[in-house]
């Protein structure tokens, strides 16, 4: 029910809307619940509304953490 997905903002539209793209799928969503969104941002989209903007640095850090942990774990296993 709380299905929400990260989508790339490709165009800002009138009425506080934006065009977003997800894997080649374009969709118009409302920006009424977020501020300062720019083209190129990724937003979390839920029932047609952007809920938050993805922080790319945090995302990179989380991914790095996966790798690191993976590597840490892989060692004793290997």
């Amino acid at each position: 029910m709380c299905l929400a997905l990260p989508a790339l903002v490709t165009e800002l539209l009138p009425d506080d809307n934006a065009k977003v793209n997800l894997g080649g799928i374009a969709k118009t969503v409302s920006l009424a619940l977020v501020s300062d969104v720019k083209v190129g941002d990724y937003v979390i989209v839920h029932v047609g509304y952007a809920l938050s903007v993805i922080d790319p640095e945090e995302a990179a850090q989380t991914l790095a953490l996966f790798q690191e942990m993976g590597e840490l774990a892989a060692e004793p296993q290997a």
Binding site: M1, C2, L3, A4, L5, P6, L8, L22, G23, S30, A32, L33, V34, S35, Y42, I44, H46, V47, G48, Y49, L51, S52, I54, D55, P56, E58, A59, Q61, T62, L63, L65, F66, Q67, M69, G70, E71, L72, A73, A74, P76, Q77
Partner: protein, 388 residues
């Protein structure tokens, strides 16, 4: 798909799994509740249980607003749909959920009610503008994630002066439900149920932030990791919780920091605060009456409140007595412990909260996981029993 594919990397999943396996204490057991149906779904759909050590057990919490909506509210929505001139619209998830006498919105629609599926509250508003002679009622359900979009629609209805739009509000609150579970006798007093740690909501937290969980962590001395709904997010959260448990810590950690901050979405929060107030008590299917766990519209927005516009019935029909949902939601029982499971209760004919949507514990187990406990010889089940 950026921010999706990277979080579904099977190689990395196996590496994290290996790391978890390496870190767990073979002699201990880890009972981790994922509150959210989104996590339940990810665990089942990706078969993540197979990647976890046997002594890490996932307990599927009540975090699916479709599942926890009591039968009485579904009956009330059907009652609204049956009022002359009403178009009832709601998210697709709600259509198949049966109320009393197995009548769902889908069945009411088949009987002739005008019921529409919408993908956004904007669609509901559009219906109201294109059908000025009819009353459009939006059957609003959802946690903190889904409440702000309802609020935006009401704001817009106000701005447009739409008098034929209203909201049948069933928005509920995550923290109250978690409290209810932790306060249950089995968990709190009797200690019959071990609940070692929580995976905190992903998208709910984009709105409310991570701060509200700090109270639990401290009050109930349980670690919480807020995690995204992708399989690697879940694996990582388990990893982080195992480590906290091993360390004896009970902190709030944020695995989903790419989308969740400590304070959440202020804009959305203040909009909701302006428009909604707490209900004194609200029934949760499987949990019973939970104090201060749901929202209703404040007086200045009464004009858009379907419960003030119509004398909506407030009946509270009970679930089937044999349904074990309450115990399952608190981790006391498993779906197979319910004698209705798979006989009279299936996703096509759900009898209780946990079977209602794919995010419920029973439905997820039936749909994705039932091969696990299937003995080779039991292909023919017993005759179905009557549920009346």
């Amino acid at each position: 798909m950026k921010y999706i594919d990277e979080f579904r990397d099977g190689e990395v999943a196996r590496a994290i799994a290996a790391s978890i396996k390496a870190e767990v204490d073979a002699g201990a057991s880890y009972h981790i509740m994922e509150f959210c149906g989104g996590h339940t779904h990810a665990i089942s759909r990706y078969g993540l249980e197979d990647l976890l050590p046997a002594n890490v057990r996932m307990i599927h919490g009540p975090g699916c607003p479709v599942c926890v909506l009591p039968i009485g509210r579904i009956d009330a929505a059907i009652w609204l749909a049956r009022q002359p001139g009403v178009i009832l619209c709601t998210y697709g998830d709600m259509l198949r959920v049966p109320g009393s006498k197995r009548v769902s919105l889908l069945k009411a629609k088949a009987e002739g009610c005008d019921i529409r599926m919408v993908y956004s509250t904007m669609d509901a508003l559009k219906l109201a503008t294109t059908h000025p002679d009819q009353q459009v009622v939006f059957f609003a359900i959802g946690f903190e994630t889904t409440t702000p979009p309802t609020a935006v629609a009401i704001k817009q209805a106000q701005a447009l002066g739409l008098t034929n739009f209203s909201v049948f509000c069933n928005h509920v609150l995550t923290p109250s439900a978690i409290t209810q579970i932790l306060d249950s006798p089995e968990v709190r007093e009797l200690g019959t149920v071990k609940l070692d740690a929580f995976i905190g909501p992903a998208h709910v937290s984009t709105i409310i932030g991570s701060r509200p969980y700090e109270y639990f962590a401290e009050e109930y001395q349980r670690p919480v990791v807020i995690a995204g709904f992708e399989p690697l997010d879940v694996m990582q959260a388990v990893r982080m919780l195992v480590r906290q448990i091993n360390d004896g810590r009970f902190e709030v950690e944020n695995e989903f920091s790419r989308a969740v901050t400590r304070d959440g979405n202020e804009k959305a929060k203040s909009l909701v605060a302006e428009m909604f107030e707490l209900r004194r008590v609200f029934e949760w299917r499987g949990l019973g009456m939970v104090p201060y766990s749901a929202l209703r519209l404040k007086e200045p927005y009464a004009a858009w409140d379907a419960e003030r516009r119509w004398d909506v019935p407030q009946d509270t029909p009970a679930d089937n007595k044999a349904c074990e949902c309450g115990a399952i939601l608190r981790g006391v029982k498993k779906p197979l412990d319910c004698k209705l499971f798979g006989t009279v209760c299936t996703p096509e004919n759900p009898m209780g909260s946990c079977m209602v949507s794919a995010e419920g514990a029973c439905a997820a187990y039936w749909t994705y996981g039932r091969f696990r406990d299937a003995a080779p010889g039991d292909a023919e089940g017993p005759e179905p029993e009557s549920d009346e």
